[in-house]
């Protein structure tokens, strides 16, 4: 099979972007408000008591964590809910009947989810300036970390969307996997402050590297070496992509 169906890929990408933009109140504004609420609460309770990194106040430390948490949750939610909804409503046939390859479907869903996640992250970053100055020490590192993390979760969303037959299945992924892993990976604290066992366990948690990677971009230092975070997350993305592409190419649950 030679070449990509570029028009098909572009159309599916635009359609997926159009889908979340049509309900931007739910897909962009709502997650920003949730993150800001966390910020307000933790600022009130902890700002004067905790200094995680020397010279960095707690609110400034917290904001990249909250940005990455939002990136993670929204990238996953976008591809997972789009696919699950299409399957439940039956309109997934509209992308299964045309000459779209597994790779084209994969790229379009992943691309749209990354874009939504970055938009939420960007808005949250801008809102964060209302709370504290947020200069970024290594912008390219921060952007790469955000894109790689969003990519991982977008692809996990595709896998969940393929496997889920109803919204409860998708919610189970979200509530029992994505939420705990994103919460427990250093959004609100540095893993250095954890008991030694849990600090070491974090070394095997890719979500920790996602959050830590963005912090490295913001402050220039982090719990793990900056390059290691990017490599681990890129490796995780490659593994997830191979799984998702295989599932799409074999038609798992989509072409029974």
């Amino acid at each position: 099979m030679s070449g990509l169906n570029w028009i098909g890929l572009r159309t599916l990408l635009a359609k997926e972007i159009g889908r979340f933009m049509k309900v931007a109140g739910q897909t962009i504004t709502s997650p920003v408000i949730t993150a800001v609420l966390y910020l307000v609460v933790f600022q009130q309770v902890l700002a004067d008591r905790v200094e995680v990194y020397p010279g960095v106040d707690y609110v400034a430390f917290l904001i990249p964590g909250l940005i990455m948490m939002s990136v993670i949750q929204n990238a996953f939610a976008n591809s997972a809910s789009s696919l699950t909804q299409s399957k439940i409503m039956g309109n997934v046939v509209f992308i299964l009947l045309p000459p779209l390859s597994a790779l084209e479907i994969f790229l379009a869903f992943t691309g749209a989810a990354i874009l939504r996640a970055l938009l939420v992250g960007l808005v949250l970053y801008l809102v964060g300036w209302l709370f504290t100055p947020l200069p970024i020490a290594a912008p390219l590192h921060a952007l790469t970390a955000a894109i790689l993390a969003a990519g991982c979760l977008a692809v996990m969303g595709i896998i969940a969307g393929i496997l889920a037959d109803k919204f409860e299945h998708m919610a189970a992924f979200q509530n029992y996997l994505i939420m705990p892993l994103s919460f427990l990976s250093g959004v609100f604290y540095s893993v250095q402050d954890l008991p030694p066992f849990w600090a070491q366990a974090s070394a095997f948690n890719p979500f920790f590297y996602m959050i830590d990677g963005l912090r490295h971009g913001f402050f220039g230092y982090s719990d793990a070496p900056g390059w290691l975070g990017l490599v681990v997350v890129a490796g995780f993305l490659a593994l997830l992509s191979a799984i998702a592409l295989t599932m799409l190419a074999r038609g798992v649950r989509l072409r029974p």
Binding site: M1, G8, T11, K15, S86, I95, G251, R255
Partner: protein
């Protein structure tokens, strides 16, 4: 010239249920073809396998010579499928959805005039800017048909396109389908309205329990049917005993009798009615309809 559809020994099971059992069929280019069968016969499964919505367990399918697995892009570009379920995307307007669907097939802006034609042809003009969610069932059905045609496929499969639509819309849809056929499209349809299949389709295949039990021209299928029907009104309220095995309908002086063309003599039957049933008040004969053939064949299969 490759066949519009070439289906060779296709089988498909769902668990222990064998939905398709070695189905072979060929539909010629330019044909108007009916795929008939009772509920659960395997029609939609076969369409799913042709369209790539289902993976067959065995066999080969080609659309205009393009294998649906090895050359799936070409096969799908040549095929338009109207699914049976009334599915729609709630987020977009009719026009936007059609442009999106054309895009998936690799058609850019150059397909927009054709989309305008489809919108007009299917009388969707005043719904162009409506979201799919806001449309009635009949309108959604028209949009589904338009979506299947956005890429000008030479082979069009309509899976029960008139299920649940009113008489006027049904007529409109058949008129539109006839026009497509006249313009050179190969049409394959499944329907439970057998009189429509009889009047529209040149060739027919009957599927029952996953197997093809008939595949011939509509004319031959009807001619092969051994029965003729006699609707008669008699003076008496009872049917003579010798004619009772022929009765397939009616009661109390109005009877429908089924006569085997090779065995039952029409003149003798009428004589019996005249002499033993109080005389004939009214009489009408008709040849077998597709429905009679269909019921006969599928119930004969069920008896086996």
């Amino acid at each position: 010239m490759p066949a519009a559809l070439h289906i060779d020994q296709v089988s498909k099971s769902f668990g222990s249920l064998k939905a398709l059992d070695g189905v072979s069929l060929e539909v010629a280019q330019g044909d108007f073809f009916a795929l008939l069968g009772p509920n659960g016969a395997g029609k939609s499964t076969l369409i799913g396998c042709i369209a790539g919505l289902l993976q067959k367990d065995a066999g080969h399918i080609a659309v205009l010579g393009h294998d649906t697995v090895r050359a799936y892009r070409q096969a799908r570009r040549h095929l338009g499928v109207v699914p049976q379920e009334l599915v729609y995307d709630p987020f977009f307007t009719v026009e936007k959805m059609l442009r999106i669907q054309a895009g998936y097939f690799g058609c850019g802006r150059d397909s927009w005039p054709w989309i305008d034609e489809l919108i007009e042809g299917l009388e969707l003009g005043d719904k162009r800017e409506s979201t799919l969610r806001a449309l009635s069932g009949g309108m959604k059905r028209r949009v589904l048909i338009a979506q299947a045609l956005v890429h000008r496929p030479p082979v069009v499969i309509l899976d029960e396109p008139t299920a649940g639509v009113d008489v006027e819309l049904r007529r409109g849809l058949w008129h539109f389908t006839r026009r497509l056929h006249d313009e050179g499209h190969t049409i394959v349809l499944t329907t439970h309205y057998l009189e429509e299949a009889e009047s529209l389709c040149r060739n027919i295949a009957i599927l029952d329990r996953g197997q093809v039990i008939a595949r011939e021209s509509t004319r031959d299928l009807l001619a092969r049917h051994p029965y003729r029907f006699l609707e008669v009104k008699t003076g008496s309220q009872t049917l003579p005993e010798t004619l009772q095995p022929l009765q397939v309908g009616g009661t109390q002086g109005q009877w429908e009798l089924r006569l085997d063309k090779t065995r039952d003599d029409m003149g003798a039957v009428l004589d019996t009615l005249n002499s033993q049933a109080g005389g004939i008040r009214d009489v009408r004969t008709r040849d077998a309809r597709l429905e009679d053939v269909f019921v006969e064949m599928t119930s004969r299969e069920a008896r086996r």
